[in-house]
Subunit: 470 residues, 2 copies
Amino acid sequence: MNDFQHQTLSIINVGLRSFAENISSVGGAVEHVDWRPPANGDREIGVKLAELINHPAVEAANQVAFDRYAAANPVLVGVGVAARDLPDMEGKTILHAGPPVAWEEMCGPMKGAIIGAAIYEGWADNPEAAEKLAADGAIRFDSCHHHNAVGPMAGIVSPSMPVWIVNNEEHGNRAFCTLNEGLGKVLRFGANSADIIERLKWMETSLAPTLAAALKASGPIEMKPLIAQALHMGDEVHNRNTAGSSLLIKKLVIGALESDASQRDIRDMVAFVAGNDHFFLNISMPCCKAMLDAAHGVKGSSMVTAMARNGVHFGVRVSGLPDRWFTVPAPVVDGLYFPGYSIADAAADLGDSAITETAGLGGFAMAASPAITQFVGGSPSDALIQSRDMRNITIGRNSQFTLPALDFAATAAGIDVRKVVDTGILPVVNTGIAHKEAGIGQIGAGITSAPLDVFIQTIEPLHASVAAAS
Amino acid sequence: MNDFQHQTLSIINVGLRSFAENISSVGGAVEHVDWRPPANGDREIGVKLAELINHPAVEAANQVAFDRYAAANPVLVGVGVAARDLPDMEGKTILHAGPPVAWEEMCGPMKGAIIGAAIYEGWADNPEAAEKLAADGAIRFDSCHHHNAVGPMAGIVSPSMPVWIVNNEEHGNRAFCTLNEGLGKVLRFGANSADIIERLKWMETSLAPTLAAALKASGPIEMKPLIAQALHMGDEVHNRNTAGSSLLIKKLVIGALESDASQRDIRDMVAFVAGNDHFFLNISMPCCKAMLDAAHGVKGSSMVTAMARNGVHFGVRVSGLPDRWFTVPAPVVDGLYFPGYSIADAAADLGDSAITETAGLGGFAMAASPAITQFVGGSPSDALIQSRDMRNITIGRNSQFTLPALDFAATAAGIDVRKVVDTGILPVVNTGIAHKEAGIGQIGAGITSAPLDVFIQTIEPLHASVAAAS
């Protein structure tokens, strides 16, 4: 009793933060543990979750799915054209980011980008005509993900657009993505003015053939070593791609100079790519898609194989439930806004680029990229915490992608819906922010997280599928 | 007394570590402070040092010197030829790294590089003839630093060699450095076989003219923004120059493609530079030299304006004592050795590249470069400590060079000899390690520190110069 009187009381508070605040407000020392009951306290889900945790069939399936993801070997093999190379792109088809969404429901920037794409394709002469075409049902819309593609922000892919082709040489699957247009007023943020259409035409007729010739001369480029090196040079390959873009251009320019591309076209290609530090994003994304598609469709696996937003819904795909999307309303991101803009101007979360986080990069690899915090907010110390936190909700770590600032620890990868719902720790996502109206473009960037509810939705169907199998 | 009995005893030990070890060996808690008496306990120097510390004349002079360093604006303006562009390069002159040293005294790799340079210049047909020429006094040797130049490792500059030209646009001074040859068996590490001479000839006749044409077309390149960006991409611009090299090539290749250089020469240039992640070292070095030379010769200033090693002596130049070198024996570096080599094979510390540390980069900016630790040793956490430690011995911080992992703190810069001697904290230097024999090349890399004794030497003359002025 004497000892107890003379010792300083150390208190650990678990759960409601207000209990801890009461103690610290009167000068007491208290350590708060941010804990919530699993599944937001939903008893029925909680019971099913408990049955799924450590379930041998799920564990085995996750190992298979994770190993496929980890063994994938994404290789940049060429530059193609959407209509020719993507599956099922007949007629007036336009692909968009995120889960499927009807024209009427779409957010402003997605509509703006579609209007731009219709003009670019020559289906309409002006925005009004393009809008009418879309509203009349003359255009078929679908998810990029249903066509082995991914697209940043609005994620618009129309038939004439050039696309990067990434082969997963380990499993034979392919992934596609359009070429990155740069920052600011660009189609993917919903801008669609004449200069943007003109740039898209130049990308189709000059940039893409030059890149294709360069890549043909250089030969296929293995992307995992390049991504790994970019992580050691301050990229997280989602919102920071400065190093990746530089490393890629070194390879491409040698190829271009050995090809029959004209010196003028090579110069224009280099100037465009060198002036666009986000150029590599549209390669890192299909690489992640190629790795994760290999892990998709493993019966019983609780591994997330895609997170994607269409500006209205935040959608998630799970390996063991391959034919469906789980969706909740997309959040609006409380990020860093460019001068003159605020959260009131922002579209809801948008784009397939969260495929990078799904693959253990982007927000999951924030520790590799202290400089990204100047763009998306937070501090370098926060970045370390975020990368460490993600270890609690993943199946494993990707030893090929290491984080220098965490003493070269492997990045956490393979989000497990069970762990997300059990811990309440949410996958962190870096993201650009589009204006909510069509035609304006990017107005900011920020750090957000995937909503808990979308993961909670997966538990019952996963439980049912595992129960049905056993 | 009751309170005291129940409290855990916390002990701080200052000075001799063995006292602390006695306590911790019996389970006691002790915090050791690594303190030594100033000037290694030399009373006479200590008294003079005490008079110099906070001396108004020294403080004022240091402010002038530091401001000149900080205001300097190094700009890459062209590629020249040593014989034409460097001052006082007549006849059979060869410049070398570090303070002046006679042929007889020189270390193996420096002799090896000189033999190579004599063959490259056509002064001799074979190593024996070259050696005889040098021994006979037919070649005039001098420090790079005496000709506004710097050179990594052996630092050999002979008349026909192409050189980068860096102008300090703020103060009008210039600095020069040869082009980087790559890693492994290269002249600067003392190798001198036929393939090395052939590469030097190719650099003179193809690479340099192409780079010159590219730079002429692109226009002068301001280097501080580029170095700042490289620091945000994991370089410390001494032993890691991956990002700087990539950023530079992006600029040069556009210029080259706009120049009348042939597509073949451009291709060869890009392939060479893209294959050599150290290419940027030979630009970061003259940039640092240009910044520091602006700060040299300020009466009364205790700021270090050069640290340089010739493989025999470690030399230091001080702003307020402009006409002399302070030297001590160069240490051998206990670093990371390539397979098959050990410290027994190593030449003593060599090269002008510690000019980067003198300018607040290199080892001083280790925090920017966690990945460098894989090359020179230590851990990313050590790197943070090193960069922070250097604040104790510098006049200020360079707000243009920031370190992401330290929440974008400005790098410590402007080494103050008084602070080094007072605290015993030694400037940290990253370095490559050459084989001690001529003709072999690099065998490792490591982290070392400038020897205390060389700084102690500066105190008396500095004291005398300040006393004479007041």
